[in-house]
Symmetry: C2
Subunit: 238 residues, 2 copies
C-alpha cells in the first residue's frame, strides 16, 4: 500500500494532488505543524513522527510497502514510473521536458525563492525593493518567472501543453508561494524588482485551482478556505 | 554525439566528472564567465551562446543529437539510464536512495545554501553569526550537514556505500561551496550557527579530490590549482 506522509500546508500537497490523478489506492498519514513557529513538530533524527519515517523529518515522504522514497521530485518520478506509466528517462524531448520541470520546481524555482522567504521571515525586506540583497535575490527568480510565462504562452496554458499534468502539479507550490509573497509586497517593490505574477501564470493558477483532483487533494489535506492554498503557511499565528 | 555545454567554474563540473566515469565519447563546449561579475556572459532569452542551447542560459545543458536536456539532476538521470545502465525508478531501496541524492543535491542542499551565498554576496553576514537572518538560514543547512555526516559514517565514506559514485558526484559542488564559504568565516561564526565541515565530510572531500575521473574533469575544465575546485568561483576579481 502506498502511504503519503503529509505535513500540513506544505509542498507535500503536490504529491497528494498527483496521487488523486492516479488510479491507485493510497492512504495519508497526517503530521501537524507547531501553531506558533509553523515548523514541523518532529525534530530531525528524533525518531519520532516524521523522523521515524525518514531521519530528516521533512515532508513529503512516500512509503510503498517497505520502500521509503523521499524528495518530492523523486516521489513524482517513482509514482509516474510505477503508477502512471511514464518513463521519465525516455529519449524523447517530451520526456526530458517533464524531467526538467520535475527538477526545476525545487532545484531552480524554490532554490531562488527560498532566499526571499528567509529574508522576509527575518524582516530584512525593504518597502521598495531597494536593497542590494533584494537585487541579488531577484535575479534568478525574474528569469524563472519569465521562462514560465513564456512557456505557458507557447504551450497553450500548461507547462508541457495538452492540459494540466504532472509538470504543472509539481510546480504549483512554488508558484502559489511566489504569488502569495509578491502579492503581499507593495506595487513599488514588485516593479523595482520585476517580481510579479504575469498574466499567463495568473490564468494557470486559476486553472490549477479549478482542477477537481486539486480540490480533492485540498479537501483531504483538511478544508482550505483560502483563495491560495499556500497562504495558510504565511498566516501569522494568533 | 553527447555534448556538455559547460560554464566555467560552475555546477556543471559534476556532469563533466560523471561523463568521465562513463565509457562513452562526448565533447565539451566551453562557455565563459564575465571576469568582473562572475556571471555567465550570455543573457537568458538572448539567443546567444548558452541561451542558444537553452533559453535560460544556465549551465549545464547536455545535448544528445537533437535532444536537449537541462537541470543537473535530469542530466544525471538521463546519462545513468542510457550510458550507465542504472534504472533510477527501480523498486529497490538502493535505486530510491540514489534518486533521493540526485534531487537532494539541489532541491535541499543548494536550496538551503543559496540564501547564505546571496547574503554573503550582499555583505549582510555578521562576524559572529548573530543576526536573525543567519539563524533562519542555518536551520535547514545544519540538518543537511548532519544528515550527510551521519550517512557517510554509516556507509563507510560514500553516500550510498561501495565507494564514490553518482550520488557523491552529484553532491560535490554544493559541499565544496559549503566548505569554501564556511571556511572563509570566523570560528565564532561557525560555532554560533553550527555550520562547519565535519570529519566525515572532510575525509569525503579529500576522497573525491583524489578520484582520477574528477582530476581529469578538472583538467578538461581548465587547469585548476586551487585546493578546492569551487573556490575559483569565490575569488575576488582582480
Amino acid at each position: 500500500m502506498l502511504t503519503l506522509h503529509h505535513l500540513e500546508a506544505s509542498r507535500s500537497i503536490r504529491v497528494l494532488w498527483l496521487l488523486e490523478t492516479l488510479n491507485t489506492p493510497y492512504e495519508i498519514k497526517h503530521y501537524a505543524r507547531d501553531p506558533k513557529t509553523r515548523l514541523g513538530v518532529d525534530a530531525a533524527f528524533s525518531g519520532k513522527g516524521l523522523a521515524a519515517v525518514h531521519p530528516l523529518a521533512r515532508s513529503p515522504v512516500l512509503t510503498d510497502g517497505e520502500l521509503v522514497i523521499s524528495e518530492t521530485g523523486a516521489i513524482f518520478q517513482y509514482l509516474l514510473a510505477h503508477y502512471g506509466g511514464v518513463d521519465i528517462a525516455a529519449k524523447t524531448q517530451q520526456a526530458q521536458e517533464l524531467s526538467f520541470w520535475l527538477h526545476f520546481s525545487e532545484a531552480s524555482f524554490m532554490l531562488h525563492l527560498m532566499p526571499l522567504h528567509y529574508a522576509n521571515r527575518a524582516g530584512v525586506l525593504t518597502d521598495d525593493g531597494s536593497s542590494a540583497q533584494e537585487a541579488i535575490i531577484a535575479r534568478g527568480l525574474k528569469v524563472d518567472i519569465e521562462y514560465i510565462e513564456r512557456t505557458l504562452r507557447a504551450n497553450g496554458g500548461s507547462l508541457l501543453g495538452g492540459g494540466i499534468g504532472p509538470a504543472d502539479i509539481c510546480n504549483i507550490f512554488g508558484l502559489e508561494m511566489f504569488a502569495a509573497m509578491t502579492g503581499a509586497r507593495s506595487a513599488a517593490w514588485r516593479e523595482k524588482l520585476g517580481l510579479a505574477v504575469g498574466p499567463e501564470i495568473q490564468k494557470w493558477l486559476e486553472r490549477c485551482a479549478a482542477e477537481p483532483a486539486y480540490k480533492e487533494a485540498q479537501k483531504k489535506e483538511g478544508d482550505c478556505k483560502e483563495a491560495l492554498y499556500v497562504s495558510k503557511l504565511f498566516k501569522q499565528p494568533s
